[in-house]
Symmetry: C2
Subunit: 335 residues, 2 copies
């Protein structure tokens, strides 16, 4: 038989407002971006799963596994990490549907892996959608999002549903941690295509350690840090209104204020700060760290001057990704 | 007769905590530094006043005036500004004492003029002390401080008594704006010699404009900016306790948090940010903007690693001044 070949894709994400504060019950705004992860599944006649991660920001990698055995032909830490999401996604889908078939799977990413752009959630969700579709099933978005979250929890031990929600549905969501590790996720009205530039530098610290750093500061100076966190929450609420009203000037100003507060929590560093100021000098309406900080990404709101901001970020020593906010969620491409 | 020659000096200052927030009623901590302005007065037999500003960070300058006529032999904006304080100080003292005599006056500064280190107040106070002593009067500190404030108000139109207080008394003071433009000034217990490094870059904005910028942000986002300002006030209160208790670790951490909040108010820029992060990388316990921002100075708390921090600031493109906090106030040297 000529085998079925299904490509699905899912977008990356940025946190627009509220990172770190979200850990303490404040709302956060998270948006999909125009850069995506593509996963193509071609079913095999045997029970082998062959994964080709041809473009996960490493020169090329082939992984083969049968049952529990995982053979990695080239060893690059981050890609392996992405592969873990992919393999777990296949396991989770097989278990959920009660069907397992071998497959050749090709992953391609338009984003750097491990930069905080939600690539792991995008890999998980695109794999779930691609593999389940290849198996002949049409999962609902709710199912895809839930299974994706399960994958993240299995690989990481714990995870918020934030990344898997946004990569499944796209657009902009408002997330709030409720008591007992539950999250409230609310979709915002679709925003028109907002041009942004993402700046990226190598991370110097891990998300876990940065969250612990903020917690330690909060433990030592509760009165001060609580106020800063609450202020970030207020900024996020105002930013939601500005986003819905397409008030980009306000949105940019609020990004800048939020950035100072993130800096006050000790999670910025010299290189991120250089990118942020370079973007503003080049005319960005606002710029801030996106995600945990400590290296990783910054986001600059750059309507009408994306090219200038891109150049400025490069000159300041960062990688620059021109894209837009709020693009479509996970989707199946022709098969 | 062999003329009397009197040298008086007065220290520069840094704002440790609370700049900008002080405008809105929060406390600020201001400290004298080890760098000083020296003013030498030699009375003349005629009514000419000849000012030689030999070291106000310009190659040399001679100014002569008689009554209302001011002759400037070299025109450098900032020095002229310093000379205005000097000339007004002589006028104010003459009026206060009811005596005027011509004099040759030599000014020498160990600090850059116009960097926000309070050189104008130091020039005013050192001139008052030098000229009045040369005239044979022994003014009290209270009188010197009050006359110095008067000079600042006459030259600038409006002034807080902060700079003239700290340069007169030395040490560390806590300043709070009361209703009706009154200030509460409280001296803190003497601190032991705290090594700092001041980093200096050319200013890109004027104090007046930076204060207006914060006010505009506050008008547009009152709920957010009020919280940030109040949080700076709390930090200042905690810093006062840390300073009195010689808890330098806490002091440094609070400087870093305060810095983020200043950044959130929009008064930092890329160059200041580079200096701040460079100082921290070199081991400073804390670093922040001191004064209005927009270029100007940063201060780094650097016990045990002043040299490393000095080099780091220079490599980051700033001028570096190694000095200490809380040195003596205005004084008359041998005559």
């Amino acid at each position: 038989m000529s085998s079925t070949k299904v490509t699905a894709s899912a977008p990356g994400k940025v946190t627009l407002f509220g990172e770190h504060a979200v850990v303490y019950g404040e709302p956060a705004l998270v948006a999909s971006i125009g850069k995506r992860v593509y996963v193509t599944t071609e079913l095999r006649d045997d029970d082998h799963v062959r994964i080709v991660a041809s473009d996960l920001q490493v020169p090329g990698l082939t992984v083969t596994f049968t049952g529990e055995e995982l053979i990695v032909e080239t060893d690059y830490g981050r890609t392996i990490s992405a592969v873990a999401y992919l393999k777990t996604a296949i396991d989770v889908v097989s278990k959920y549907l009660g069907v397992f078939k071998g497959a050749n799977i090709v992953v391609r990413s338009e984003m750097p892996v491990g930069a905080g752009l939600g690539t792991s959630a995008a890999v998980a969700v695109a794999t779930i959608l691609s593999y389940s579709t290849a198996l002949g099933y049409a999962l609902k978005k709710e199912e895809v999002a839930r299974l994706g979250w399960e994958v993240e929890k299995l690989v990481q031990g714990a995870a918020s549903p934030m990344d898997t929600s946004i990569t499944t549905y796209g657009g902009v969501i408002k997330v709030k941690l409720l008591s007992g590790n539950d999250y409230e996720v609310k979709a915002l009205p679709r925003v028109s295509d907002l041009p942004i530039v993402i700046g990226y530098v190598e991370r110097e610290a891990r998300t876990k350690d940065l969250i612990a750093k903020v917690k330690s500061l909060k433990d030592r100076y509760p009165e001060i840090v609580d106020r800063i966190i609450r202020t970030i929450g207020l900024i996020t609420e105002m930013a939601e209104a500005a986003l819905i009203g397409s008030d980009l000037i306000t949105l940019g100003e609020l990004m800048n204020v939020n950035q100072g507060l993130l800096d006050s929590l000790g999670i910025s560093n010299r290189r991120l700060s250089e990118l942020i100021y370079a973007a503003r000098s080049a005319g960005a309406l606002g710029s801030k760290i996106t995600g945990a900080g400590g290296g990783g990404c910054i986001i600059a709101l750059a309507p009408g001057n994306q090219d200038a901001v891109e150049v400025a970020i490069r000159l300041a020593g960062g990688h620059a990704i021109k894209t837009s906010l709020g693009g479509p969620g996970a989707m199946v491409h022709g098969w």
